[in-house]
């Protein structure tokens, strides 16, 4: 399967709604083990919400190694590549069930250290 991103959303990969469109279009094929190529020719501007939804959330459905094997990316500029890599790293580490009690305790501990 090959998808022209510009045909789907235009020249800007910025907002999460456009990312969701891409996710909806490719998730099934990837889950079936098909190779998917995203062609970014003609798309010049990128921001993290787009990639969080287009690619990052695929890691809910597919293991990172499988995603890297099955998802091919073409004609994506350096900026876009950097954001995609960050998004994949971030999504791979993401857990919906964080220990927020520990997070608050850690922040308070640091706060006390800094004010003391």
């Amino acid at each position: 399967m090959k998808l022209s991103i510009k045909d789907q959303i235009g020249p800007r990969g910025i907002i999460r709604e456009d990312g969701q469109k891409i996710y909806d279009a490719i998730r099934g094929a990837l889950q079936n083990g098909e190779t998917v190529t995203l062609d970014f020719a003609g798309v010049n501007q990128f921001a993290s919400p787009f990639f969080n939804f287009a690619i990052g959330q695929l890691l809910k459905d597919i293991a990172e190694a499988d995603l890297r094997r099955l998802l091919q990316i073409e004609h994506l500029n350096e900026t876009g590549r950097l954001v995609v890599e960050r998004v994949i790293e971030n999504a791979a580490k993401y857990h919906g069930d964080k220990d927020y009690r520990k997070i608050v305790d850690d922040i308070l501990e640091q706060q006390a250290r800094e004010s003391g």
Binding site: R12, I14, I15, N44, Q45, F46, A47, S48, P49, N52, F53, G56, Q57, L59, K60, N77, E78, T79, V83, R86, V87, N90, A91, K93, Y94, G96, Y100, R101, I103, V104, D105, I107, L108, Q110, Q111
Partner: protein, 295 residues
């Protein structure tokens, strides 16, 4: 009708100036039906003040009060010229259409208008010719700046939108953009989010600075829904550091600064309900190149 006259002082973009802006915000929270801004003591307004006052006017109007920018008090020709040039005067019912100069237009976004905001950042801000950058780099910088608007609309709960203004200062060779919202504020948002998981008594102890610091760390987000987020501010910080610029955030009682010396978080004595993101970039062309772009 109870009328309040608020004198607008000369406003730069130092901490003292922001404190005065938040003081003005506080004054407008008292009960008055009509608020008049008097500029007779104002000799200079930086874009952060323009964006803030414009947003404040919309906030006042959203509470069914009236607000007037008293033109008869605009004695200082430079202030008047600046407000006309950046389109602020025209927005608030004075006959002026703005013109090209060193100012980056005053802008109001009630909703997240992707193409409108990206065009503003791409062509009116970074791409206006203040600094010669390739189209590729211009597009990359605009994408990083987008994260400001994305954060404001996604997290602040602002009901009246986001207000922006900028300026190129030729002498300092700086490019400034200020974006203001009158939403909940980042610390309030972080506390609200954490209270859903941890008891209130502990969360209430978190300072504004600590909340801002948490929000600025890569991967931390108050969004729920199973999609990893929390990269926007991190990407923005990284860009500002590479540019040797400065990113300042005032939100509730918290203050954050990212510059060449690192990042610092402080608690302030003054506070307001909302967030100001104030970015100063250096227009040094040596700082604006991809690795593969030749000198």
């Amino acid at each position: 009708m109870a009328q309040k006259v608020i004198r607008i002082p000369t406003l730069n973009d130092g901490p003292h100036d922001f404190a005065r802006l938040f003081g003005i915000w506080s004054e407008t929270n008292d009960y008055f039906e009509d608020i008049r801004f008097d500029f007779s003591h104002c000799n200079f307004l930086r874009p952060n003040a323009v964006a803030f006052l414009g947003g404040l006017a919309r906030l006042i109007q959203s509470r069914w009060k009236t607000v007037t920018f008293d033109r008869s008090t605009l004695h200082h020709s430079a202030v008047m010229a600046n407000l006309c040039q950046n389109g602020f005067a025209g927005t608030f019912a004075y006959p002026s259409s703005g013109w090209d100069g060193n100012s980056i237009p005053y802008r109001e976004d009630k909703a997240l208008d992707m193409n409108g905001i990206m065009d503003y950042l791409t062509y009116n801000w970074i791409g206006k010719g203040w600094v010669h950058v390739s189209d590729r780099l211009r597009d990359a910088i605009a994408g990083r700046m987008w994260e400001i608007y994305s954060n404001a609309f996604e997290h602040s709960g602002t009901e009246i939108g986001v207000f922006s203004c900028g300026q190129h200062y030729r002498r300092q060779n700086n490019l400034i953009l200020s974006a203001v919202d009158f939403g909940r504020g980042i610390p309030a948002n972080v506390r609200f989010f954490l209270r859903q998981h941890v008891e209130d008594a502990l969360v209430s102890k978190l300072s504004g600075a600590a909340c801002l610091k948490w929000a600025f760390e890569r991967g931390n987000s108050t969004c729920t829904g199973g999609v990893a987020r929390g990269l926007g501010l991190d990407l923005l910080k990284e860009f500002v550091r590479l540019n040797q610029g400065k990113l300042e955030i005032y939100s509730n009682d918290g203050y954050a600064i990212v510059d060449k010396d690192g990042e610092r978080y402080e608690n302030r004595d003054f506070a307001f309900e909302g967030t100001v993101m104030h970015i100063t970039l250096r227009c040094d062309e040596n700082l604006y190149r991809f690795r593969d772009e030749a000198e």
